[in-house]
Symmetry: C2
Subunit: 327 residues, 2 copies
């Protein structure tokens, strides 16, 4: 059934992309969900969806929520939603599970906490399993962010679920990156290891009612003071929270606002968004080239080259040259 | 100074790639180190190095060592080296730190333990910081493995340092993947999350002298028994170790041997290596395309497209089409 011939009834089989975008902008959660599914499934209408969304994008502040497992990312995200809703903002949450590329299924841990917000019409919650190559974030992630942005979200929280990976990738997608820490996690060393001192715009010491929280904040402050910062650059604040009972969340929301204001004033938002758009365009172009490459060669040809490399008769660079010469 | 004009003296400035490969094969650790540096720095001689190594590759069993932070990866790697040396094998160790793409520097944690083996001529130890895009393993990692393979290592252990990421990528590079667990790490859930039940060829419960180790092994066995396996497929063993004092390490080395034998008998080694070679060829070809793409467009053109996307005047797919059309 084509969209135009769809009978108007209680059950429509298919809406046009235009209809879906219109409904999503009017706050229809099911239209938002459907658009994200179209994007996630790489539907044939993906390009049309992307084009129709474009004029409506650019409003949402994308906030990345990163931190090691156990620091309370899910609880903090949920508590942030509560605090943001008090200020009247429309909120999107994208929970990405990049840890299980083989199964294709998302193990969404304690998503259950999010059910506090499940009936709030101004909150969109979406979980995505990865389809990323080699365990990274899915290529669909930025497209899903565009849907939530176009749907009128003022703020979109993106959180990775799973074993602390992809923090850096999340930072690459966000306007503002939160780095969560908590006492008792050996976070001092881990923080340095993960390079998180270079990705955080705002640091959150969660579980601030526990022993050691002040120490974590002190260590963090000391490390941040050692980091090189440009004159007049943003100085990442450290916010203490107890996500479990909402303590400190208003301050965190304030810090997120402050960062957006600062980025706007200093042109940093434009810089970050341009970089992000570049990365995205490049990734799409490279993916298209990859597909073209796959079409031309088929499996047999590449297998032959691979076998020569395995046998020591060729090397990967020479084999790649042959592939490119045939392109 | 060109290689041919190098005076023979106590200090040679530069050796030819042929010389370096020859020396590496004779067990000269400095030649091995130099070859890896050439690869890692993407030196102009990278292609020559790769071609000259090719005929000497294919002997080493590449063993990936994965596991969450705290399970004792470094200690286990070191203990494995000790056990492997008892069997007379030449061993390579590649410790990769993919967690800090921004700094470019490797924070190699407790590499210090490896100093037990620093004076053993039959052991090559190399640490690599990532140069990978967006936090993944460096493209140079497979090339470094090829160097260690060509240098006559019977076995190469590849271990990631840092926050549990890139486990899946390590598995993609290895003939045999070890997954390490330990009691008291909440590994049951983490294991499921990380999809490690699908990547392990051998499971190691380290710190087996601690409370809860038996429980971890039982949970693991239960989970593995639920996983779908092909008829006649490899059944991953669970080996208990105390890496700190070497307990169980001989059994682990035996299991690694068994897995290699099994793969040889069942043609699985050829399948894995072909897949790996394919991935590598493809990655090199795509990188070359990417560079070509960068050369043609320069920054300004792509910036213009990115700005149009940010402004909502275009979308990433349309912009990517424009890029490709110009290619």
């Amino acid at each position: 059934m084509t969209p135009s011939s769809a009978t108007k009834g209680t059950r429509r089989r298919q809406l046009s992309v235009d209809d879906l975008v219109g409904r999503a902008r009017d706050g229809d959660a099911r239209a938002v969900a459907r658009l994200i599914s179209l994007v996630e499934d790489a539907s044939p209408s993906l390009r049309e969806v992307s084009a129709k969304l474009a004029p409506h994008t650019g409003n949402a502040q994308i906030v990345g929520v990163t931190g090691s497992p156990g620091v309370g990312k899910s609880t903090s995200t949920s508590a942030m939603v509560t605090a943001l809703r008090k200020t009247g903002k429309r909120v999107g949450i994208l929970a990405v599970d990049p840890s299980s590329p083989f199964s294709g299924g998302a193990l969404l841990g304690d998503r259950v906490r999010m059910q506090d917000h499940a009936t709030d019409r101004e909150v969109y919650i979406r979980s995505m399993a990865t389809r990323g190559h080699l365990g990274g974030l899915s290529w669909a992630t930025p497209q899903a962010l565009r849907v939530l942005d176009a749907a009128g979200c003022d703020i979109v929280l993106i959180e990775t679920v799973g074993v602390g990976q992809s923090e850096v990738e999340v930072a690459g997608l966000a306007d503002t990156t939160l780095v969560l820490l908590a006492p008792g996690m050996g976070d001092g060393i881990q923080a340095a290891k993960a390079g998180i001192l270079e990705i955080g715009d705002i640091y959150v010491v969660n579980k601030a009612d526990r022993d050691g929280a002040d120490q974590v904040a002190r260590d963090l402050r000391a490390m941040l003071s050692l980091a090189e910062r440009l004159e007049g650059g943003w100085r990442p604040p450290i916010v203490k929270t107890v996500a479990q009972n909402g303590d400190g969340l208003d301050k965190l929301v304030e810090a997120i606002d402050d960062h957006r204001d600062w980025m706007n004033e200093h042109g940093e938002l434009a810089v970050r968004r341009r970089r992000r758009a570049r990365d995205e365009i490049e990734a799409i172009a490279v993916t298209a080239l990859r597909e073209r490459f796959g079409d031309i060669h088929g499996d047999a040809r590449l297998d032959g080259l691979a076998d020569a490399v395995v046998a020591g008769e060729s090397d990967p660079y020479t084999a790649a040259d042959e592939v490119l010469a045939a392109l």
